[in-house]
């Protein structure tokens, strides 16, 4: 081979490598087997159900991918905006549903696939929260985070508080009496164990019960003017000043350690939190118990399954989410993982209503959480509710860390909220 030919060959090879790098595989379509992808966050309890669905539908293969809560929703926003990269089924949390509901053209309108006939499956507010301004239904509800208050029996006993769940529930009909009980607890608290985990989490639970939260029904931010927000903020900070808070930031590694090290005696717990407590506080089985949430009702979290309009297998994907969110499957999820369905028909089923949880001293979780879900007053969620929540959490943390006083942190938070709003 001559030198010139060799040079040519090298050049051709180099270009070949380049073009091979650029070419992507094209997606399959047609009558062959269909692979449906689901992008979810955290454990939604579906894994056991996929095999069952695949057995009934031999041409379908299901692949689930999970990522962290915030990453998942950020990726979804990017994939929708750029028109590619989204899965056939995307999970969306309550905190983000309003943001995605504002772009209905990017999702399959489930009304075109028989959604109206299924409407009665769900709690009415759950159904309504994923309906866009133009009437399109973008998702089917999976779970709701009906609220309860989890507490440690042993710590309550040491502090001289009642330990039976009915008496404990009577101790705090409202938040004022909850904080009052906290003061009594704090007066003889066991070493190192505060009354609640962190001010921001309690604030979350309180605001979840209000009729109006951060937005009015026409999507205006009302944080500065809604008296409920300010009074909950002040009440929580009063309790923090009284030494009731363990000053832990929710979901942080330190918060996880807090469970194992008994740093707090109560925690506002939506149904999905039970699995978390059982994971983090393994050594305390039977010492945890569940009482009613102060103020009654309230919601924290809960999710939806949606089908992005860019999916190549719209019909198959819709069939799958219709099946996954059907009452029969939701009962299985509740029994296996304690994740409370939003399909109201399941609440009357004995296997839901009578479910008890041994870890929580045989607390009647079925009855507690279905009651909470039925009692809650639905709250309108605006597009940036999740970001506003974070700004308020930071404000409460600044006070807990002793860096600012309540009014200072409030002023700074309002400026942050203004920036989020634009």
């Amino acid at each position: 081979m001559s030198a010139a030919k060799l040079r040519l060959l090298v050049g051709v090879l180099a270009v070949g490598v380049l073009t091979a790098g650029c070419g992507g595989s094209t997606g399959s379509s047609g009558d062959g087997p269909v692979t449906l992808t689901l992008n979810l966050f955290g454990n939604m309890g579906f894994k056991d159900l996929y095999a069952k669905y695949e057995a009934a539908h031999p041409n379908i293969k299901i692949v689930e991918r999970t990522s962290a809560y915030n990453d998942h929703h950020r990726n979804l926003a990017a994939h929708l905006a750029t028109g590619s990269g989204a899965a056939d089924v995307e999970g969306i949390d309550t905190g983000f549903i309003a943001q995605f509901r504002a772009q209905p053209e990017r999702f399959v309108d489930l009304r075109k696939h028989g959604a109206d006939g299924l409407k009665d499956r769900w709690l009415p507010w759950k159904w309504q929260a994923s309906v866009a301004k133009n009437g399109a239904q973008i998702g089917y509800g999976t779970d709701v985070g009906g609220l309860a208050m989890c507490y440690r029996r042993d710590l309550f006993e040491k502090a001289g508080l009642p330990t039976e769940r009915d008496e404990v529930s009577k101790l705090w009909p409202d938040w004022a009496s909850y904080f009052e009980a906290g003061r009594k607890y704090t007066a003889n608290k066991p070493e190192g164990a505060s009354f609640f985990d962190g001010g921001a989490q309690i604030f979350n639970a309180m605001i979840g019960q209000a009729e109006t939260g951060y937005y009015d029904a026409s999507d205006h931010v009302v944080v500065a003017t809604n008296p409920v927000v300010r009074s909950a903020y002040d009440e929580v900070l009063k309790a923090v000043a009284d030494g009731e808070s363990a000053k832990l930031v929710g979901s942080s590694p330190a918060w996880n350690t807090g469970f194992a090290k008994s740093q707090f005696a109560t925690i506002a717990c939506p149904a999905w939190m039970l699995a978390k407590i059982q994971d983090q506080a393994k050594a305390f089985a039977g010492k945890w118990d569940i009482a009613a949430i102060p103020g009654g009702g309230g919601n924290w979290g809960g999710s939806y399954l949606t089908v992005p309009a860019q999916s190549k297998h719209v019909k198959e994907a819709v069939d799958l989410i219709t099946w996954l969110t059907a009452p029969e499957q939701q009962i299985e999820v509740f029994k296996a993982h304690g994740i409370l369905p939003s399909t109201v028909a399941t609440y009357e089923k004995p296997e839901v209503k009578n479910l008890k949880n041994a870890f929580f001293n045989d607390a009647p979780v079925g009855q507690v959480f279905t009651t909470a879900a039925l009692n809650l007053k639905p709250q309108y969620q605006g597009p940036r509710a999740g970001d506003i929540q974070t700004a308020i959490r930071d404000a409460i943390n600044r006070v807990e860390e002793g860096k600012q006083d309540g009014p200072q942190a409030w002023e700074q938070m309002l400026k942050d909220v203004e920036r989020i709003e634009q």
Partner: protein, 308 residues
Amino acid sequence: MTLARSGPRRRWAYQLDVKGSPYFYIAPFFLLFGAVGMFPLLYTAYVSLTNWNLLEPTRHWVGLANYAELLTDDYFWNALFNTVSIWLLSTVPQLLAALFIAHMLNRSLRARTFFRMGVLLPNVTSIVAVTIIFAQLFGRDFGMVNWALDLVGLDPVDWQAGTLSSHIAISLIVIWRWTGYNALIYLAAMQTIPEHLYEAATLDGAGQFTQFRKITIPMLRPTIIFTAVVSTIGGFQIIAEPLLFQAGTGNPTGGSDRQFQTVGLYLYEQGFSLYKFGYASAIAWTLCLIIVVMALVNYSVTRRIRRS
């Protein structure tokens, strides 16, 4: 046939081969760089002149408005202060320690290869794992650092809450990961210094420290400039450490009062949490210019090492 081979066409092909081939061989790099380096850079410059928000379907040309807003944005200046502070706290001790370690490794030690490889180990560990472990070590209630402080009778520190304390903690992560890497670079340079310089100095009665100051440091000057510039580029782009230092909480605000939010993290917050792509692109370009300026300043400062 013979005509064709010896005619002007052949000469033209020969000319092309001689003059053109080199460009052809380096083309793959520049094509790749153009696709994954230059194009994003220029496209980011274009986006920074628009008000593109990922959640809104339309975008408009806004000229330099994003840059004007940035100059009056308290959170940007706060992030820049944090970045400079963390960069200084990490780079200066890191390079000094690396010099010292390299000097030690340059002597005749037992198991020298073992130690030389050992200093590189922190650098090959996963940044995510390292940061999460350091965050645990600096925990408020059950962190090992506070436990040690307690042993010697000092009050515990809420490392994450304070500005200086969080900067120190994050700097330590950087120092831990990069000191060994820089030490190896210095070591390689030290081994090229001719032995007779030291021998002559010893004959003249110069001690160890004088030899280090008068021979080793001046001879290492180009290497020190290189490490200082590379550390500056890395230090100003720092994002993973401050992001993961508040792991689990999910939002890139760098602490409740943005006390450890760096410019990179602020860019990430504006772009991928608030979806303001136009504004985030303006931050990216501003950061790029700052790094260029800082690298030049660094270059001229470290050049003076020998003269002083």
